[in-house]
Amino acid sequence: MVRLEKRPSPSAFWLWATPVLAVILTMIAGGIMFAILGKNPFEAIRTIFWDPLFNEQFASYSRPQLLVKAGPLILIAVGLSLGFRAGIWNIGAEGQYIMGAIFGAAVGLALYPIETRWVFPMMVAAGIFGGWLWAMIPAILKTRFNTNEILVSLLLVYVAQNILASMSIGLLRNPEGGGFPGSRNLSQIPAMANPELIPGTGLHWGVILAFVVVIAAYILLQRHILGYHIKLAGQAPKAARFAGVSPNRLVLLCMGLSGALAGMAGLFEVTGPSGQISIDFNVGYGFTAIIVAFLGRLNPIGILLAGLLMALTYIGGELASFMLGLPAAAIQAFQGMLLFFLLAVDLLTNFRIRFGTIKEAR
């Protein structure tokens, strides 16, 4: 008979060991999945986790991609983690990401032939505003009408996707693109581009800001009263209210911050790696960032590491589909599996497992 005994306080060891354990378990289960698909599991795992970094043939291309993919994931996940800690569930980051990209690109394209170095900062500001605005819809509906923010933020993703489709064949379409959908290529317009800053590293402005945001979030949570309020509201909502923390203010703040960061990530993506507004420029970073936030234990430093790992699975997945013919969808299932294992082993953090029979009924 297995019995669970609640720990008086979460185990510090398991707090850090569970993500590692979850990754190992996912590799095992993923290996089984790849074996079922008829691939050599060891080869598949090596292609995903090892080759992108250390294979002589691919590493020169793959290594820079690590930062390119981790940047937006970390930016979004840090924002989400603040809300998740306070029990505010913004799961519509994908929509805020899209809207940030649209707002930023629209400002840039409206100023199109102008060549000054102020265009790019203005686009970043517009991107942040776009994401913030899109997140404010569920936030205000939550504070004013007590509407469930999970459902509203998620449903708004579908709305944002339709707006994106409309923009890329309508308002923002490249007038010189011969009628093809998609905007001008922003990454090729010097005033709007978000280039690779140091050749061969993949470092762009979004990655630098991701690092800045990680540090800022760390300080906020460890040293600032607001960070304390966020943690308090999540762990003891009643105590927080007695301490004078306004739940509504916290909702507006957490949703706004996560939306702004997601919007910023969208703008950096659309001016850099993806280059243009098109129907499918978004690749689901907003959803994957949810896994990143949990894998990083809602801790900024943890998210930094989790973001890099998740970026690795993206790159490794591409490599595996190229080299071994592993379906691209397999990597999505793999990432979902990681979240399952993470949630399952999380039990070890809060409970002790005791073996042996007990008298009382469970």
Partner: protein, 310 residues
């Protein structure tokens, strides 16, 4: 009788078809939430039902077995949710999201070899001369069996929850798991069964999309239907009959905008296709404004994990 190129009889008939997946998924989720569990993985379970149903129907050539396969596939996925939340005491919101992310990935993985295949046809229920009645014939008596099943399921869930001992125990577990546990009811067992039931119904709904409504397999075929089902449960204030109402309202808007697209309305297609989501949000706002959780009729233990300390 035509209104701007749209025939009302066909409109109503097709809105009944459009709302079947939502009715089934929302009914399943209602039972789950009545037991005090918030499963946000409806979208993932629906899409697993869609692909498992499709695969089974193509393999056996029998659409009925397809629906069974869809229900089973989704129930298997919901079992993962049940184990994680009931035995591993994982956060229900996070686990539900994981279910959706995993379901979307796995379904498109399974579905790769099924793109472009036609599933076996599901015929309409032969109701003889009833189908020939003008207006009412096509609206009410010319559907496949799932349309009738969804309405019947609504009544069955309502009756079971309201009049049977099983329904009473289920509601007790959802209102206060500690009290139910003290009375000797097996909280975890009841919740696991409710989650499996919810998964099976979501799977039926998903299979309906891929086998009848569309009918073919494409990635992301459910397109947010699971999330709308979750919203409909709130709209219905956890009452089965109101789910029918909410789903028909939603189905009506979906069908109307599709018809407007086909009729060449001056509104761009993208704005028409986003309308169902916007209306769902609007309805959610109206339902939850100015009311607390209690006034909304939400189960009191919704979303809380149960761990018997003794």
């Amino acid at each position: 009788m035509d209104l701007g190129g749209i025939n009302p009889a066909i409109l109503i008939a097709s809105l009944m078809v459009a709302s079947v997946p939502i009715i089934l998924a929302a009914l399943g989720e209602l039972v789950v939430e009545k037991a005090g569990v918030l499963n946000l993985g409806v979208e993932g379970m629906m899409i697993m039902g869609a692909i498992c149903g499709f695969a089974t129907a193509v393999a056996t050539g029998n659409p009925y077995l397809g629906f069974l396969g869809g229900a089973l596939g989704a129930a298997c996925l919901s079992l993962v949710f049940a184990v994680l939340t009931q035995f591993f005491l994982a956060n229900q919101v996070a686990t539900g999201l994981a279910l959706t992310l995993f379901g979307l990935g796995l379904s498109s993985l399974i579905g790769q070899s099924y793109v472009g295949i036609k599933p076996p046809l599901t015929g309409t229920v032969p109701l003889g001369p009833l189908a020939d009645i003008p207006f009412f014939g096509p609206v009410l008596f010319d559907h496949d069996w799932m349309v009738y099943l969804s309405i019947f399921a609504c009544g069955a869930v309502w009756a079971v929850l309201k009049y049977t001992r099983m329904g009473l125990v289920l509601r007790a577990v959802g209102e206060s798991h500690d009290a139910a546990h003290a009375l000797g009811y097996k909280v975890v067992r009841i919740r696991v069964l409710a989650i499996l039931f919810g998964g099976a119904l979501a799977g039926l709904g998903g299979a309906y999309i891929s086998l009848i409504r569309v009918p073919q397999w494409t990635d992301g075929i459910t397109a947010g239907a699971g999330w709308i089902a979750l919203a409909i449960v709130v709209f219905a204030s956890w009452k089965p009959w109101r789910i029918l109402l909410g789903a028909y309202l939603f189905g009506g808007i979906t069908v109307l905008q599709l018809n407007l697209q086909a009729a060449g309305a001056r509104i761009p297609v993208e704005y028409l296709s986003m309308s169902p989501y916007l209306i769902t949000i609007l309805v959610l706002v109206i339902m939850s404004s100015g009311k607390g959780k209690a006034a909304l009729n939400a189960p009191a233990s919704l979303g809380q994990n149960f761990h018997a300390s003794r």
